[in-house]
Symmetry: C2
Subunit: 121 residues, 2 copies
């Protein structure tokens, strides 16, 4: 890779142009298709309720049924169902139906995303 990372000087005041220092700036590392995918998943995480949901599920050693999830949140049942779907479609959680009940758990990817985010400041 020819990353032309010439040690460009700090904001230059040498010339009239703001950025005419011919040093070509380094290209971005992500292409739009990648940022689209990442942003999609980040959007699924960028909600306090869904973050708490994923956190709750990631803490368990077994899957939780929806009634237990519902008890942890103030929103109504359809709203919880809505958030669960968004997390599931983002691949962060998964579910299984057993009889009348549905059980949800954090996927490996979901746990990784959550712990990565939790470790940041």
């Amino acid at each position: 890779m020819d990353t032309a990372q010439s040690p460009t000087e700090k904001p230059a005041e040498e010339e009239l142009a703001c950025c005419a220092s011919d040093g070509p700036l380094s290209p971005p590392a992500l292409v739009p298709s990648e940022t689209d995918t990442l942003a999609e998943r980040l959007k699924a995480l960028a909600d306090p309720t869904r973050l708490r949901m994923l956190d709750l599920l990631a803490q368990q050693s077994a899957a939780l049924c929806v009634c237990e999830i519902n008890e942890h949140f103030a929103q109504r049942q359809p709203t919880i169902s809505h958030h669960l779907r968004i997390l599931r479609e983002a691949g962060l959680i998964d579910c299984e139906k057993r009889g009348v009940w549905a059980y949800y758990w954090a996927t490996e990817s979901g746990s990784e995303w959550l712990s990565a985010v939790k470790g940041l400041r």
Copy 2:
């Protein structure tokens, strides 16, 4: 504060309950105040344009002036300015005004968030 949890009132004696088998479930690791803060920053990242912006800035060894940033995006100048402000208010980038021009760069925290996100799948 956070007294929303009720581990005491858990009826563990249901016979046919969906989820009364395994005792009390593990509490979440994050309190709502933490998820609010995290979600705020995630919201700043959860946009393809802003992700590309942060990525572009994080790749540079020196700050970029706005005119150079503008050239990399199809949006109009006020829109770019709007996104730069959101990233700055989230602490992911910072800026400095020198004369007529403004120079932006990724903060250390911004670079950490970006690389953490880029490493996930």
